[in-house]
Every structure is written in structure tokens, then in C-alpha cells.
Amino acid sequence: MATERNSVELVDDDAVRSFARAAVLAALMGAAAVVGSIPIPFSPVPISLGVLVVYLMGLYLGPYWGTVSIGLYLTAGAIGIPVFANGTAGVGVLLGQTGGYLVAYPLAVLLIGAVVHGTDDLADPADTSTPVLVAVLLAALIVIYGLGTAWFAYVLELGAVEALQLAVVPFVPGDLLKIVAAIAIVKAGRIDPT
């Protein structure tokens, strides 16, 4: 049996803390996919909190650990932990019709994290001005919609308009509300990112 014979190499304290937050937030994302949905007015689709957690990963974990966190979420789902929408799992979901949205999440987190925190240490997202937050969250949503819909249309052999009708239009109101909610959370300033 293969055993490690090297001496123990401890993980740095800072890295342990950020890593623990990244792992727990990945689990929160999975929990939100099952428990979180809230009905909204004028829409047949209840909103799940999933994408909101993607925003929060970028806002509170920064570009580096945020990407680690969403990467953990995707890998956990791929190997069979029921974290994808409605408690599904498997490589099939990643490669299936909604896989493009999932694969776009890391890019969205990276974008939000890089704009809000820069490449150095974590900053307090409450210090970022509201217009910048609105712009970066909208940009992240566009990245998710863009990649996701392109893959959706390719896999199901649909035209762009048909794919938008089926996979984007029903979700737009909910996703915009989530951007407002994310900004409300950040501006309340009750969560310490550092």
C-alpha cells in the first residue's frame, strides 16, 4: 500500500481559514440549490438562491478563493454529491443542456472578485461604490447567460432565439432581483470578509 513517508507539511493558518470558507460556501451553494427557492411575482419559475451565492463568492472570497470555492462546487457535483439544481449530480449535468451556465460560474466569480478586490489582499466589498457593484454583477450575469445559452443552443440544436426563450427569459426577473439582493447584503456591511 502506498503511504506518504515524508514529514508532515502543515498548511499555513491564513490558507486554512480561506480554504475553510471556500469549502463551506461551496456547500452553501449546494444547499441553496435544494432548499433556497422563493416564489416571485409575475414569474412561473421560483428563484433559487444559487446564482446569488455565486455573486457572494466573488464579493466575499475574492478572485482566488472564490474560484477555488466554485471549482469545489462543480467537482463535488460531478462526482455525485447532490449539489446541482434540485439535488441532481453527475458529469452528465455538467455536459448536459445547463452545463454551460455551470461552467460560466467560475468566470463570473473571477470577474467579480478581480474588480471588487483587485489582485492583492481582500478588501471590504461595502467600500466599493454601488454603480461599480451594479456594473460588475450585471457583467457577470451576462457572462453566465452568454456562455450558458451558447452551450444550451449547441447541445439541443436550437436557434439563438429559441434558446433564449427557453433558458433565459423566464429567469431574467429573478436574476435581476438577486443582483439587488446581493448589493443590499454588501451595503448592510454585517459580514466581515477579512
Binding site: 502543515l10 458529469v91 440544436e157 433558458a167
Partner: protein, 234 residues
């Protein structure tokens, strides 16, 4: 819910790496060939895979019901045209075949999910991805698995507490931000306690992993995976 179940099937005895290879090969060739003939052949492969893992089709369909609704709507939407002939059969057929291949990919991945414990997948990842990224990914997956039910419980508690205080009468944005803020606060509290516990237990980059080895049955399965990948190119 679709999840790992202990059993004695052929799929359960296989190494997770060969099962992952089969899934990737299968998806690659299914995405490359949405033709009726290829899909017929792949349906046969799917039936073999599902039998080998003793997957219950009914439960799998229930688990993927939302995805399947979209797969069913897509061909109809593709066929509907404004103006004569109102319904374009060729378009609907193309999209229908495409939807069907996604169904097959989902079913094949269900076999992996049913036959592979998280611990084995974790070991496979840590052995395939070298160094610290592999370690982080492996430990992180174990933590996600451990914390998922805990955080589901947290979210449920928060929502029940809100409902008991007529929180369901509040505006949508207010409700979303309250649930998320409380959820995030609790998650970060748990993460900070977890990091303290990890440090107290000498959290290291190089712990010992469970044993993982290819057995004789893995080699033909790997060969099948290779054939599937190559078939995507032709």
C-alpha cells in the same frame, strides 16, 4: 434522490478512474454524432452501463425530472415556426435527437453516481491531479459532502423562523437578502470554527489516502472508454 448506494454490481467493483473515463468518452462521442444510427448504438451502451450498475430508471427519471422537462420542450419549440407550415418537422427532429443524446449522457452519469462512494472519487481526484491543487480539491470535496446537510438544515431553520414571524409577507428582495445574509453569516461562523479545528488537528498537505488499484476488470473498461473517445473523431 440519486446518490451512492452500496451494492455488489460490476460497476461498484470498478476503479472510479475507469468509470470517469467511460463517461467522458461516452459524452464526447454522443456530442459528436447526433445521428439516429450512432444514438441507437449509444442507447445499447447505455442499457449495458445501467444494467452493470443496477440503476433504477424510474428513480433516475424522477431525480432528473426538471432537466427532462426542458429536454422534452426543446424539440417542440424548435419545430414551431411563425407562418406556414407552423411546425417544421426537420428542425424538431434534429433537436429531438440532440435532446435524446443529452438524456443518454445523464443516464450514464447516473450509473457513476450510484456506484461510486465520495471517498473513492476523492482518492481518484487526488491521485490524478498532482500536488497541492489535488490535495485542496480532495479535502474540499470531503468538506462539501460533510457540510451539505448541515447547511441545508441551517437554511431550512432560517426559513421556518422567518415564516413563523410572518416573514413570508415581506417583499421578495427583503426575503432573499435576509435568508442569504443569515445563511452566509452562519456559513462563515461554521467555516471559522472548522478552520480552528483543522489547525488544532495539524491540517497538512500530505495525509494518507485510501488504497486505489486497477483490477483485471478495469482494463477492458478502460479500453472501451478509449474506443468511445476515438469514435468521437470519426
Amino acid at each position: 434522490m440519486l446518490t451512492y448506494e452500496p451494492d455488489e454490481t460490476l460497476a461498484h467493483r470498478l476503479d472510479p478512474r475507469s468509470k470517469l473515463a467511460v463517461q467522458i468518452g461516452f459524452a464526447a462521442t454522443a456530442l459528436a454524432h447526433p445521428t439516429p444510427r450512432a444514438l441507437l448504438a449509444l442507447s445499447v451502451v447505455t442499457v449495458v452501463v445501467l444494467t452493470a450498475a443496477r440503476v433504477s430508471i424510474r428513480r433516475t427519471v424522477v431525480a432528473y425530472r426538471y432537466a427532462l422537462v426542458v429536454l422534452a420542450i426543446a424539440p417542440v419549440l424548435a419545430g414551431v415556426t411563425i407562418g406556414t407550415p407552423w411546425f417544421d418537422r426537420a428542425d424538431a427532429l434534429t433537436s429531438g435527437l440532440a435532446s435524446y443524446r443529452v438524456l443518454l449522457i445523464l443516464l450514464v452519469s447516473a450509473a457513476y453516481v450510484r456506484s461510486t462512494p465520495v471517498r473513492d472519487s476523492r482518492a481518484a481526484i487526488q491521485r490524478t491531479i498532482p500536488g497541492k491543487p489535488g490535495q485542496l480539491l480532495g479535502i474540499g470535496i470531503a468538506l462539501v459532502f460533510r457540510f451539505l446537510p448541515v447547511l441545508q438544515g441551517d437554511l431550512r431553520t432560517i426559513r421556518e423562523a422567518m415564516a413563523a414571524r410572518l416573514g413570508t409577507e415581506r417583499g421578495t428582495i427583503d426575503r432573499i437578502s435576509t435568508v442569504s445574509m443569515l445563511g452566509l453569516t452562519r456559513a462563515f461562523d461554521r467555516a471559522d470554527r472548522l478552520s480552528l479545528a483543522l489547525r488544532a488537528r495539524c491540517f497538512a498537505w500530505n495525509p494518507t489516502l485510501p488504497q486505489l488499484a486497477f483490477s483485471r476488470v478495469d482494463y477492458p473498461v478502460l479500453a472501451v472508454a478509449l474506443c468511445l473517445v476515438l469514435s468521437a473523431l470519426y
